[in-house]
Symmetry: C2
Subunit: 436 residues, 2 copies
Amino acid sequence: MQSPIGVGLIGCGTIGYGVVRLLVQEAELYARRLGRRLELRRILDRRTDVGDTEKLVAPGLLTGDADAFFNTPDMQVVIELAGGKGIVSQFVRRALSMGKHVVTANKSLLAAEGPELFALARQHGVSIGFEASCGGGIPCITALNFGLMANQMQAIYGILNGTCNYILTEMTRKNKDYATALKEAQAAGFAEADPTLDVSGGDTAQKLAIYGSLAFGIQARGDQVPTEGIDKLSLADIKFGAELGYDIKLLGIAERTSAGVSLQVQPCFVKVEEPLAQVAGPFNAISVFGHSVGQVMLYGRGAGQRPTASAVVSDLMNIASGWYPKAFADLRIWCDQHEPVKLGNPVGQESRYYVRINALDKPGTLAGVTKALGDAGISLSGVVQHEMAEGKFVPVVITTHKAAQGALRAALAEIARLKVVEGEPVAIRIVDMPKG
Amino acid sequence: MQSPIGVGLIGCGTIGYGVVRLLVQEAELYARRLGRRLELRRILDRRTDVGDTEKLVAPGLLTGDADAFFNTPDMQVVIELAGGKGIVSQFVRRALSMGKHVVTANKSLLAAEGPELFALARQHGVSIGFEASCGGGIPCITALNFGLMANQMQAIYGILNGTCNYILTEMTRKNKDYATALKEAQAAGFAEADPTLDVSGGDTAQKLAIYGSLAFGIQARGDQVPTEGIDKLSLADIKFGAELGYDIKLLGIAERTSAGVSLQVQPCFVKVEEPLAQVAGPFNAISVFGHSVGQVMLYGRGAGQRPTASAVVSDLMNIASGWYPKAFADLRIWCDQHEPVKLGNPVGQESRYYVRINALDKPGTLAGVTKALGDAGISLSGVVQHEMAEGKFVPVVITTHKAAQGALRAALAEIARLKVVEGEPVAIRIVDMPKG
């Protein structure tokens, strides 16, 4: 047996309790796999009551005093599960500067300050494990960094937020409107009381920035990602899309385009036969397209105590075994080693689109709409006008052939000005995945 | 830049060409990621004509002489893509004994001699990369070994053979019988001229032995796995199953049971909503259930030149970077470090079953059948008798509640002896996956 590895934990909420429980209950298994023991030396949490955790650990392990925490001897790895930036960023920097490895599930911190933190770790000869920061327990980062290393990545399409996917699955399969589905998701514990970060797409954007940086060898921040959430989606569009053979998904998309790497978060229509379309409820999945491997999809629970604790403790073990710090030091695949890039402007990006317009059902209406699209160089692949009620406003659904995002927006603005059109046209990207 | 890594290649067929092409075309990318160059020093192949490979490499790189190959200086890694055992096993042993790392896609070799080869590698301070041996380009082994390290594995359900899955998908979705689907798969290049190893389940059993060893920390050989193929499946059963809400899949199943770890390959019914049921055509997928992470599914192309080359070159890079040899040396997760175990006897294993009987449509027939099941302690969850044609033999489909495999077989033997029953009853396991 090698000497034990000392572990400190910052933040002992739901995930933290899951981590402590694994470390206590599986101590023998982990020691057998590693040839050394993992020993929890200190827990930093401002709260004096951290629930059941105290029943699992030796008295005195918990402290609210950061200095006491950082002065704990023989603590080689710090697990950060407090979340957020500010003081937590300071804690992470302090740990790294003291030559302690860090394991973190903190996507907002990494999506904002990743390159600086990675450089700091490198400067002090330690590593950062971050599998738990995106995709909960799904080993996406391990797969991208190591298992698929021989690939040039072409694209990533990810269902990265379980709250959104749960709500969209309920809307699609049970005909609920957004407000009802959200309320039920909150009651079922799949959505927070304040769901803004999830439903706005912000959480997805942070994860996409992390995946996109790894997959494309760039530096990208979450706040650089053009983001649209699910909170304005109407059930009508989901139903029209279903009739055309599409499921709605909130996708984080990273693509290599002629204008550079483009990152974008938006609700998209995906063909029902696609594996991604079949990802239901709170599950997450990420479809990666590599130039050699083709399509690889990883699927699982993207959040929750036990899945996230699995990723945190796996990172901890990979650090304790010594191989991960070596990979962190020797490979040139980490975000601090890439150049900050200007992301490709999605305006020029081409895709098919679903468009819905509320138009007056009278002769000439469709001609005006199609002329606006034609003038922008956009050709139609289909038109569906559902109800016929002459003299009234009815939904007209159009699917386009490939069109640039900017051209489509311009055409829709033109269409919105037509007298026969009521309200704003709705446009939803139809994602055709590469043949993989 | 560190000094280059010298690479030798044994076997330059389809996959070998894919590997050589990646090494030539992506040399700059790989050097950037690794901080060192990968240099192909020698290719061993008995054929004098290896197609397009020679156009990619320097003259004289190809040799048919094993001594010349092994005496090539500065060759730290040997990639073995010749397949099979016998002389190829000798080549692998020779490379390891000379202190060369080995990357192999050879599942039959590993499923038979894995523990010996791993021990030999360890003895000489080198490592074996084997991501390409199972699941083509899908990074299953990297995920199991590293990304999910904190888990006790509960079960693995894998669609591990693209040929079988292609044939079953065609039978299910296009109503083809087995012989027609096989012939078309051969014409489309998804099945070999001699498809025995695939359709018999033998290929799946070899891969399952490798995954099972890793996931459960045991030693298991492919020839220890009770195996049933798809070659006796009838279209009628696939259709009856579909009516009940099930898709047929050839599954490799590794489960922790009360009698120990059980490995088994057989055609199974899976609920159509399960992600595994939706894996279509030549794709593979493996669903892993860990005690902390829950369900994780990895999906992609399990064979083919480019996906397999992705796994081979990723392994090579992970070895060249030095981290993989460290993980191989320091972790206690490799098959040579586990005890050989007696696999759990599947006779006691409980599952639900689909049973079809050809029975004479006359009063009392069903009573005789249900009595035989009842006497074996097996209760029915449903009975479907499709056609009514008094005095003729008609298919009777029964689904059971959980029953031990041995008890079911005994009951079916009893049923086969009934005068009102024609031919052998058909039994197909219905797999209920853990809540994950």
